[in-house]
Subunit: 218 residues, 2 copies
DNA sequence: ATCTAAGTTTAGACAGAGCTAAAGAGGAGG
DNA sequence: CCTCCTCTTTAGCTCTGTCTAAACTTAGAT
């Protein structure tokens, strides 16, 4: 029905329009490592297939149909990713890339068995929700860690998943979903947050730009 | 380096030349569900890549190089197949097809982790050997079940893997690698073998044509 | 020894997805 | 209001892997 190439574009568009806007040709091209010309060509194909709304020179947004399609392989991605980490012991920070290599090929039956084998987890290893089979995308009740007031604590809910460098750093610090966290202080001038992290002897000082990639349960 | 299409052709050729001959255009075409013309075109490409010896109108055989290449994804196939059955509980008779759908995409690292997670098994679920990483294809010491003399017993070693119908039948009868087997009698005229099968109350009567797909440990 | 049928190869076309180069839109700064 | 730079699109090409139709081999049957 739809080609692998189309899947990749839809996934990239989905990622880029999470916060509601449109995805531009050049952004998507960069994300996929192709030229803007190729992306423009594909935008037309996707529009013809009814997966995106396309207005020349101003980018694309997913139609309801396109969103369903995207969610179906976000689900696939996150189940496989979790399986690689949880069952096969793949390193947290490498999981996204490895998953991306193999995900399109995993048959539905195998996917469901992976999910079942893990006891139907509801999030990927980085804390992002696994959509349900019927296409529902569960909204998690999370808030930025930087919103914690000093003294306030909460378990880590989610960390940004696409930068292996950053993930490696988080892993080294023990900053992973599920761990308890407490805000100690916020240095507005120095742009750092000092946090108490479960299982870690000394407090953790996080640059504001890095802390922005961490969310805690509300 | 080599495309997925080329992999598929090499795999089909490998299967068809196990017993030493050459693979013909039409056999390979049928196995892959493409036309003879496409296969002929691909034979030339494979020959140019040094993977096969190609003589027009008389088929192809794998070069040493081609054999190495084939073995590398026979390994891949069998590890994934075993993983699907053993760890994910996929039905024995469906494993070959499902594996074929996803195998090309499984990254080396994931493959090795699957293998490790199962404790480095040496055969696929149908009893075929898993080649080692260095490209060695272990020859198992097996013989056709039909060579057993009456009264003689041996554990099942391997059953033909490519016919889901037949596999379903074997599974229903409990005829799977590892099970103990004893030859009771051979009816040459009726073309049947009567076997005692471990875990099965009554003896099993197997048509000669079917028994030909079963091998036991020597 | 020849004919014919089956199997094989060639020729030519097409679809998918990418590229480069060139042309066209749009917006920021003069 | 115009200009220029950046971004986007179009045009035209390439490479894979497939197809159909036609031509050619090979070998078995007469």
């Amino acid at each position: 029905m739809y080609s692998h190439a189309m899947e990749n574009y839809i996934e990239a568009i989905w990622r880029q329009t999470l916060d509601g806007g449109t995805a531009t040709t050049s952004e998507v091209a960069r994300a996929l490592g192709v030229t803007a010309a190729s992306t423009s060509y594909m935008f037309k194909k996707l529009a013809a297939a009814g997966l995106v709304e396309y207005k020349e020179y101003s980018g694309v947004s997913l139609t309801a149909h396109g969103k369903q399609f995207a969610i179906s392989f976000i689900r696939r991605h996150r189940i496989v990713e979790r399986f690689l980490v949880q069952t096969l012991g793949v390193a947290w920070e490498d999981a996204d890339d490895l998953t991306h290599e193999m995900e399109q090929a995993v048959p539905e039956e195998v996917l469901e068995r992976m999910h079942a084998q893990m006891g139907y987890p509801t999030t990927c290893p980085h804390g992002y929700p696994i959509p349900s089979k019927d296409g529902t995308y569960p909204e998690l009740n999370l808030r930025p860690v930087v919103d914690l007031t000093p003294g306030e604590g909460a378990p880590i809910g989610q960390v940004s998943e696409h930068d292996p460098e950053l993930l490696r750093y988080f892993a080294r610090q023990g900053l992973q979903p599920g761990r308890g966290l407490r805000m100690l202080e916020h240095d507005a001038v120095g742009q750092t947050y000092t946090l108490e992290l479960e299982g870690r002897p000394a407090p953790l000082v996080l640059a504001a730009a890095v802390a922005a990639h961490v969310r805690v349960h509300a």
